[in-house]
């Protein structure tokens, strides 16, 4: 506590005679600080205007939109299939889950049943994406707080899975592997054996990350009791995912409104108690174990079968057939050039992505393009609670809060 001592000696005031103080009165005023838009720990381009009292945040106003590309407007100008690559660019760190959420929403609009094997594949890949997302989150959050080593370890393991994605669909980040009615292609035996090898390799690595952080005094000091939000407030702000579960609210759409192959798998949803950054960290670490469990069960239960629904007016025919069969070629051509017509109506479909509830609200008037498509982006809604969560904490804790939301500005600004 050397710092404290120094301060008391310099500004020593006799409590009996405060007027005897010889030093000039300290000038105090609130300071306005612009954090961002170019700041390494804002996870993209985000500006926060902070009113400070010393180093404490009194009020903060997020300024967003630097990455706004008008995705919702673009959706109104393309067919339903054409929007899938746009969803990759929402949360560009975890494209698979965006594809998944969007395809599910369109399937709900069309009332389309996806084959069993495709459901299992979707769940497997979604959980692989969750692992990638959490690894990316952990590395970024640890780096923001100053733990550099974890960053390299996480990226080492993330790289294995990105290479796996590369082999699966030819892309590492902007994957577009999900299709309306199924998935683009099946897993090859090589992919399955690689995934199984990873599942054996990975759980000890999670323990390793935890050893790095949970025995680290700096990490504990900077996460425990930081950015606390109560359960009522978290629900009231519309938070979701680990950010909500950290406050002790057991809300997970995989359990509440089971979809895909999740109801056939046994897994638990970790829930925190204190609502602080540490609990949200702990939840994500536990979710890594759960994801491994889910993938293992899916690989065991999965049976042979088609990976795409057979609805010629909506789904693509297998590629081999397109080159040999006239009808399939016409079907492919019509779907690519005109798309399909969706029945008039409106639906909302939420999916539990690793950041929170990623939802699509689609209004159709019976045409080949969505009349209105609204994206419920968890990052955007989490930013709404930023001011509430940052009040009273230090400037450096603001970085922790960006990290604890797992914010990605591509999704936030759309």
């Amino acid at each position: 506590m050397a710092f404290e001592d120094q301060r008391t000696t310099v500004y020593k005031v006799d409590p009996e005679h405060p007027e005897s103080e010889t030093l000039p009165a300290l000038r105090t005023e609130e300071l306005l600080l612009n954090m961002g838009p170019q700041h390494p720990s804002t996870h993209g381009v985000l500006k926060v205007i902070m009113e400070l009292e010393g180093e404490r945040v009194v009020k903060s106003t997020p300024v967003m939109g630097y990455l706004h590309r008008g995705v919702e407007k673009l959706a109104e100008d393309g067919t339903y299939h054409q929007f899938i690559p746009h969803t990759d660019r929402l949360d560009y760190v975890c494209a698979m889950y965006n594809n998944f959420a969007y395809c599910r929403a369109v399937e709900k609009l069309l009332d389309l049943k996806v084959p069993d094997r495709a459901e299992y594949l979707r769940t497997i890949v979604a959980e692989v994406q969750r692992i990638i997302g959490h690894l990316f989150w952990l590395s970024a959050q640890a780096l923001d707080i100053g733990a550099m080593t974890v960053f390299f370890y996480c990226f080492r393991d993330r790289e294995i899975l990105l290479d796996w994605f590369d082999e699966l669909c030819g892309a590492r980040l902007t994957t577009s592997w999900y299709r309306i009615g199924g998935v683009e292609r099946d897993l090859t035996p090589s992919l399955i054996s690689k995934l199984k090898a990873f599942l054996d390799y990975f759980p000890p690595k999670i323990d390793e990350y935890q050893v790095f952080l949970e025995k680290n005094r700096i990490w504990l000091a900077r996460t425990k009791g930081i950015a606390v939000i109560s359960a009522e407030d978290a629900v009231n702000f519309g938070l979701s995912g680990p950010t909500l579960r950290g406050s002790g609210v057991d809300y997970d759409l995989r359990k509440y409104e089971p979809y895909s192959a999740y109801p056939k798998c046994e897994f638990s949803v970790p829930v925190g108690k204190n609502g602080d950054t540490y609990d949200r960290y702990w939840i994500r670490m536990m979710e890594l174990y759960e994801s491994v469990k889910i993938i293992k069960q899916c690989l065991e239960q999965m049976e042979e079968g088609p990976v795409m629904a057979e609805v010629p007016s909506v789904t693509f025919p297998p590629k081999q057939r397109v080159f040999t069969n006239l009808e399939s070629m016409i079907q492919q051509f019509k779907l690519f050039s005109q798309g399909f017509k969706a029945p008039p109506g409106e639906i909302y479909c939420g999916t539990e992505a690793h950041k929170g509830e990623l939802g699509f609200y689609i209004v159709s008037t019976g045409g080949g393009k969505p009349y209105r498509l609204k994206i419920r982006a968890p990052s955007f809604i989490h930013m709404g609670a930023f001011d509430h969560m940052a009040r009273g904490y230090m400037i450096s804790d603001a970085c922790t809060i960006f990290g604890t939301y797992d914010i990605v500005m591509g999704e936030c600004d759309r």
Partner: protein, 164 residues
């Protein structure tokens, strides 16, 4: 009619307009002046208990008399049910009550609706543009009469490497 919609109709005979259920989604359309009262009822009534706001959205129907439709989606974590609340707003008087006093999360969501569709929310604490710049002068991009490529503001930008 779904029982949630029926409860709303019974409690608010004057504000209730219509209800629909499609693909498992329950949607209730109400009149504009009753939105805040009904939302408060949805949140506080023990049978409803909608504690969670999912999203606020808007749809433009240029051919209709009341042009805009504002959409709220609520979820009840305690009761595990979902409801969509809708109301119509005419273009000449583009205002609807804000729900920020009931759900704090509505703050940013309503700002986004204002930014994109130009619907103002009465009693909103800080109704400014959120994604577009404050000096964006072209109007509201998600309206159907807004061209996909914008109205030409972008062409007036000067870029450093641009050759004259």
């Amino acid at each position: 009619m779904h029982q949630l919609a029926k409860r709303i109709q019974e409690s608010f005979t004057s504000g209730f307009v219509s209800a629909s259920e499609w693909r498992g989604d329950v949607a209730v359309t109400v009149t504009r002046d009753k939105v805040h009262d009904i939302a408060e009822f949805l949140r506080d009534d023990p049978g409803m208990a909608f504690d969670y706001i999912v999203h606020v959205s808007s749809v433009d129907w240029p051919d209709d008399e009341e042009r805009f439709e504002v959409v709220w989606e609520f979820y009840s974590i305690r009761k595990r049910h979902r409801l969509r609340l809708k109301t119509r707003v005419p273009e000449s008087d583009c205002v609807v009550d804000s729900l920020t006093d009931l759900w704090k999360g509505a703050d940013f969501m309503e700002r986004e609706v204002y930014d994109m569709m130009g619907i103002r929310f009465r009693n909103h604490p800080d109704l400014r543009r959120i994604l577009l710049p404050d000096d964006f002068a072209e109007g509201y991009p998600l309206r159907k009469d807004f061209p996909l490529r914008g109205k030409g503001w972008r062409d007036t930008f000067e870029f450093l490497d641009e050759q004259p």
